[in-house]
């Protein structure tokens, strides 16, 4: 299981600052979150970024995640 840290207001909505998901890559992580945590669905639909061990990923499903990885959900980033 991977511990996934939620950002402040998302944690408020989920009632927890962390949730656990069975995942070995980004794709599995996103699917697991969507399936198990309906409260996250609106944010997932709007798009999110994910920090894995301090690096920020937007899209790449194949990005590996180790069981002890630090995984933090982020709101989707845009630039200028």
């Amino acid at each position: 299981m991977v511990a996934v840290r939620l950002w402040g207001s998302l944690g408020e909505a989920a009632g927890a600052t962390e949730v656990e998901v069975q995942a070995s890559n980004l794709r599995e992580l996103l699917l697991g979150l969507e399936e198990n945590y309906p409260v996250l669905r609106s944010e997932l639909e709007r798009g999110i970024s994910v920090s894995i061990d301090g690096k920020i990923y937007n899209d790449s499903w194949a990005t590996p995640i180790a069981p002890d990885s630090e995984v933090v959900l982020l709101t989707r980033l845009v630039g200028g």
């Binding site: 301090g54 937007n58 982020l74 709101t75």
Partner: protein, 747 residues
């Protein structure tokens, strides 16, 4: 975790300052920008805009305009028969052409195409629009008050708690620890409200395009934009067309800074062309650029920071309200993520509220939201230092984020370069230079995320051994030079043997916008990998000629060499020689790379500025300015320096004089460069760029994006300098002379 891309090496080309490949065209007037292209049979487009901040469109009578000689098409929202399902695209459509309501002064309500500019202008005058004027709100703090006119019913996201009115579209909160506990440990707490005005990117080239669309849905668009793929994709979605049937070609782009990362008028040009059956050129004028293309959000922030006597920040909170204009955006969220990112805080909480108002849709301006995030934070830290008699650089170093720090937005930082910029600032002669009367020195830090995104590059080895490199990102400030250099470095050939082109949307796969400080990082990475791919192919071709295994060949100095004596004795085979036999060895030689690289890494900067305040008029003069920022690896240092200098200059304008001024009637009062006061040459000193090079592990050469972070620190750096030169703390931007003088008089 993905493996590091970075490998230390000696460079031959990288880090030098060659003349940019597109340079001659740009100093001789040959380069073609958005408005410079024409087509046979071309018509001139023009847009009629709402003079009201908020109004119901009762009716539009286009009959007189349509009847005019030379008028070939007149369109209103009724002509856009496709309604996009996606909310963001539906907003783009509504912003390009108002539906039931005009939501801001300058909102498009109709458009024409005519055989001349003057006929098009006359036709706009002939269109009669009947408006029912509605109550409006343009100020972010007014918009969140009970009883404010609500801009959109039913758009509030589920993440907004009870108690906020409908103009608060979204709420996002970040942080960790327990700030209330932290504040108890503070010796001094400062709590204040800060505001920033909306500013425009102020690119000198007005938005422009030349569009052609047939009844069969096949079309072409020539457009000045930061992303021609984005323009194609969004325009197709808005009009209900197949993206693949439209080819978008990027013109040269005369500045963007985030403002050209959106679609503002291209679907209108395409629709006019389809109606008229002819190509249509649609060039906005400056007034339209200010009124109808996205400026930044204005902001209001309530901040509270506690510090101990010896400079430790014990807790911090900040609520940011950013007005996103007439349509939802995510700027407050970014402010709430970025403001405290430079600091290692045990107890921190931020929240960002996205607020809609009757203003043009806000867009990014370099690092979106980050300057508004940093201004209150860096101002209050400085004020704490002043009141506690602490050194502002040492105090920042003491609290600086470093490897292992948990960021306010959640993750634990890997190795980052903030401390390096602070140490460089401390060691620089600027820090200890003497100051005169009414002069002060300010410092501030800034943070921005960089990112990668979809990238597609092709590298063609031509029959004569020269190289054509195709990339899909408009060159906004020297990126052709950077790509050419990376390709030449990797291939081991002279720079003049490579020419880089910005390909149209039919020639390469999807490319993300030129934004997010991504191009030198992501397109550079793809360029290097495309070159490596081509090298692999060339090694195979040489292997075939020599009758040895490709693994027994190494590539150096632009040629295939046998790898050691065991591989056989062959003279090196140059790229030219390999290209000459390509038809005999398997056909054309090309390398390509398609990826979504995600190792951009985050970026920090520290800025230092000296100002002098005129005690009698409140005028602030910038005397000296130094930028310290990590570039990872500067490919072409001139253009890295240019990004540092340009961002700082824009921040200076934001800090001192630039603002959107709205009247009671909700109309923009200063939609021109006369009264929207961007810095002129005589306003500024030289801006010294100090490039730090701490390699980014996510790029083969260590490149880190540099385009955006430089606009983050100046707002507070200048406020801090003004505070130290005139003993007043300005909390509302811009720090225009009337505000500074009033503050000094109130002291």
């Amino acid at each position: 975790m993905a493996k590091d891309e970075y490998q230390a090496r000696e460079f031959k080309v990288i880090g030098t300052r060659p003349i940019r490949p597109d340079g001659i065209d740009k100093v001789t007037g040959k380069a073609q920008y958005g408005a410079d292209m024409s087509a046979p049979g071309m018509l001139w487009g023009a847009i009629k805009r709402s003079p009201h901040a908020h109004a119901r469109i009762v009716s539009i009578d286009t009959s007189a305009a349509s009847a005019m000689k030379g008028v070939k098409a007149v369109i209103t929202r009724a002509d856009f028969t496709h309604q996009p399902e996606d909310k963001a695209n539906a907003d783009v459509l509504d912003n390009c052409m108002a539906g039931e309501r005009a939501l801001y002064d300058g909102h498009a309500v109709a458009a024409v195409a005519a055989t001349s500019k003057s006929i098009a202008a006359a036709a706009l005058d002939a269109i009669k629009v009947d408006y029912e004027v509605l109550p409006h709100v343009t100020d972010v703090d007014d918009a969140v008050k009970p009883g404010a006119p609500i801009i959109h019913e039913g758009r509030q996201r589920e993440n907004v708690p009870e108690g906020h009115n409908g103009n608060v579209i979204s709420r996002t909160a970040f942080g960790h620890g327990d700030p209330e506990e932290g504040f108890k440990k503070a010796d001094l707490i400062i709590e204040r409200n800060f505001t920033t005005a909306a500013t425009h990117q102020g690119y000198i080239e007005p938005n422009a395009c030349l569009a052609s669309l047939g009844a069969d849905g096949q079309g072409e668009i020539w457009v000045c934009t930061q992303g021609h793929y984005m323009v194609r994709n969004v325009s197709a979605a808005v009009l209900g067309l197949d993206a693949g049937k439209i080819r978008a070609t990027a013109s040269e782009i005369g500045g963007g800074f985030g403002g050209k990362t959106h679609v503002w008028q291209e679907p209108v040009a395409l629709k006019l062309s389809q109606e008229a059956g002819k190509p249509v050129k649609l060039v906005l004028n400056r007034d339209e650029v200010f009124r109808a293309t996205g400026p930044t959000a204005s902001s209001s922030a309530d901040i509270k920071i506690g510090m101990t006597k010896d400079g430790k920040i014990t807790a911090a909170t900040c609520t940011y309200r950013l007005q996103s204009g007439a349509y939802p955006a995510d700027n407050a969220m970014l402010a709430a993520m970025c403001g405290f990112a430079p600091y290692d805080l045990e107890h921190v909480r931020t929240e960002g509220l996205e607020v809609v108002t009757n203003r043009p849709k806000a867009a990014a301006y370099r690092a979106p939201g980050a300057p508004m995030g940093a201004f209150p934070v860096e101002s209050v830290i400085d004020e704490l230092c002043q009141k506690l008699d602490l050194d502002p650089l040492d105090t920042r170093l003491q609290n600086a984020s470093r490897e292992g720090t948990r960021a306010v937005y959640g993750p634990t930082y890997p190795a980052i370069g903030l401390e390096a910029t602070l140490e460089a600032a401390k060691a620089h002669p600027h820090w200890t230079a003497p100051l005169g009367d009414n002069q002060g020195r300010g410092v501030a830090c800034g943070f921005w995320f960089n990112f990668g995104g979809d990238t597609s590059v092709s590298l063609m080895v031509n029959l004569d051994g020269t190289v054509s490199l195709a990339e899909g990102n408009p060159d906004i400030g020297g990126s052709r030079a950077a790509m050419t250099m990376m390709a030449a470095e990797e291939l081991g050939i002279p720079l003049d043997q490579v020419r880089t082109f910005i390909a149209d949307t039919a020639s390469l796969g999807q490319n993300e916008n030129t934004h997010g400080s991504r191009v030198t990082y992501a397109v550079g990475l793809a360029t290097i990998k495309a070159a490596r791919h081509a090298i692999e192919v060339m090694k195979q071709r040489a292997a075939m000629k020599w009758g040895i295994d490709a693994d027994a060949i190494e590539w150096k100095d632009g040629a295939a060499h046998p790898a050691g004596d065991n591989a056989g004795k062959f003279p090196p085979m140059s790229i030219k020689e390999i290209a000459a036999i390509s038809s005999n060895t398997g056909g054309p030689i090309a390398g390509h790379h398609e990826a979504n690289p995600e190792g951009a890494g985050v970026s920090f900067a520290t800025h230092m500025v000296d100002t002098e305040t005129d005690p009698e008029t409140g005028a602030v003069k910038v005397l000296r300015y130094t930028v310290f920022q990590d570039a990872g690896k500067a490919i072409h240092p001139d253009y890295v320096e240019g990004q540092f200098q340009g961002g700082a200059a824009q921040g200076i304008g934001w800090a001192l004089n630039e603002e959107y001024v709205y009247g009671e009637d909700g109309r923009l009062q200063n939609p021109g460069f006369l009264d929207y006061r961007i810095p002129v040459a005589s306003d500024l000193p030289m801006i010294e760029p100090v490039i730090l090079e701490i390699p980014n592990p996510g790029h083969p050469y260590g490149v880190r994006g540099v385009g955006e972070t430089s606009i983050v620190p100046p707002l507070a750096a200048i406020a801090n300098a003004v505070s130290r030169s005139s003993d007043v703390r300005l909390t509302a931007l811009p720090m225009s002379p009337p505000k500074v003088l009033a503050a000094m008089k109130a002291k």
